[in-house]
Symmetry: C2
Subunit: 333 residues, 2 copies
Amino acid sequence: MSKATIYDVAGAARVSLATVSRAINNPEKVKPETRERVLRVIEELGYKPNAFAKGLASRKSTTVAVLVPDMSRASIAEMMNGIADIARVYKYSILLYILDHEETPEEDVLKEIVAAQVDGILYLNDEITDKQHDFLLSIKNDYKIPIVLTNTIFPDDDEIPSVSIDYDKAGYEITKKLIDEGRKNIYMVSTVRKYMVNDQKEAGYLRAIQEASLEPKIMRTSGRISINTEHFNEYFKDQKIDGLIAVRDSIAVSFMNVARQNNVPIPQNISVVGFQNTKYALLARPKLSCVDVPIYDIGAVGMRLLTKLMNQEDITEREIILDHSLVLRETTL
Amino acid sequence: MSKATIYDVAGAARVSLATVSRAINNPEKVKPETRERVLRVIEELGYKPNAFAKGLASRKSTTVAVLVPDMSRASIAEMMNGIADIARVYKYSILLYILDHEETPEEDVLKEIVAAQVDGILYLNDEITDKQHDFLLSIKNDYKIPIVLTNTIFPDDDEIPSVSIDYDKAGYEITKKLIDEGRKNIYMVSTVRKYMVNDQKEAGYLRAIQEASLEPKIMRTSGRISINTEHFNEYFKDQKIDGLIAVRDSIAVSFMNVARQNNVPIPQNISVVGFQNTKYALLARPKLSCVDVPIYDIGAVGMRLLTKLMNQEDITEREIILDHSLVLRETTL
DNA sequence: CTGAAAGCGCTTACAG
DNA sequence: CTGAAAGCGCTTACAG
């Protein structure tokens, strides 16, 4: 049961190794009966082509690198499911790189990725500095490795394709919803870290607030629950808040817990909404209204787009925007 | 900037390619000044060894495969963080395989993994049938690829090393805690899917229940929230339940929501506990008591153990059990 | 300490 | 439609 090579198959099928290779990779170039004989032997011997030899000879790896910031974020994990499902369909393997922000500079990780000879890169890190962006561009142009930004965008970039939703529009819509309810003091709770997508949510929020001549109030939190609690308690001192938009469901739930402690009924006194539509939203009481982000699909479509790029197919859209929707449950009027 | 090969380096450094290879892989076999000259050229040319050629020639890939059932499970995702951090320390790359239960048989995925020539396998799927276990054994023995079961175990297996906590003991302890509170009708809510770790939690529960001469009541749920709700409503009809142990935090939270709807105070009337100590537990009100599972560490230790196995180091412990703890918050007396 | 050469297991023009 | 042969970029005994 030690590994059969292409020579073993060729011998057993009484053909040359070139024919075995063709039977696998270009079946139409082989006479049907020969092909079947070869395929049968492959089956019998449990033959699997050695990935290294194949990669070396063909100069293609059928491997993509996926670069993620932190797997424990629910959105990242769910995207991976979408990516993996599509990768399997197109027979790509996934090399996974998780950034450990403190230890290894992203640039080093990217160099590792280049050395690994991947055919393409899925970039899920949604904090992108100008410097990082330049480096991505150089990888794309110097090494000709296609890159797709997945659930993130870089403003005014028309070189690197991306897949996401229109977070600006979503931010606008959900803010508008609260304004239409008659809310006047609507806070947005965003993150200290400069995630690209949260910038967009904020921009949409600001647009809606300004259109309605209200006062914008953006707070940035680390996301740590204990710290949130402290901040949120402040909100109830002046009693002026009547709407809250959190960039993540879990932050919204965290706020609701503090509101209950202060005996402020939701949604009667305050409308609360989140982003993503995770399990947190469903498990919360009252059930959280939020923007639904099709995160699995974003991963899947990102991977699909990358396969096209790797095949040098013509891409009409370089920036794919998937649909989102507002899921109104119990925390809005 | 297109890729330099080992020949380019050898040429520029005026040595043979064998010397370049040694300078990289066995520096002590090369005269210091030669080595430095080679290393300088490598730096200048930005040379990175081609991973395929290296893998083909050396028959080692410095790559491990990680096989996971579903990335969206919080425990799996967090384990990945631990695995990736340690993998980087030991310079291993990670090939990620996510099972899509319906589509591709696990056996096929495992064959793919073997073909990818990985040096080791981290197996995180915690539903293991006898057949799957046999297949794992054959991979380990026929192909000599080390395997580590991470956060799962296979009963009475002394061949495949594993890293987890003592779920049986944890199940026992948490049940004992409720019994000590004076609870008499303690339910365990487990899963329909036969996760190995949940079997152990159940075993521990049963042991404690029987010791106390109580009646065991195990319910198995699909985990879908809507279905849970239906089931849980049943519990309140006969009013006999006074303790609930869920194998996952989110199931416990789900139950608490139904309890509130039925106006049953927690923990006064019913003690509720979960497993894992996820964000769900902290975000719930009252805050959920639960068994804390050091899931990041399980991943990290699993990866570390695998590196030892791949280096053929002597392993004293084949079954590593990490410590767990009981985190008592507001849902227990 | 260093080099020449074989070999790892494939793919792919090139002939036929 | 099929085969012989070169080549992908490395590693590693084997000599010297």
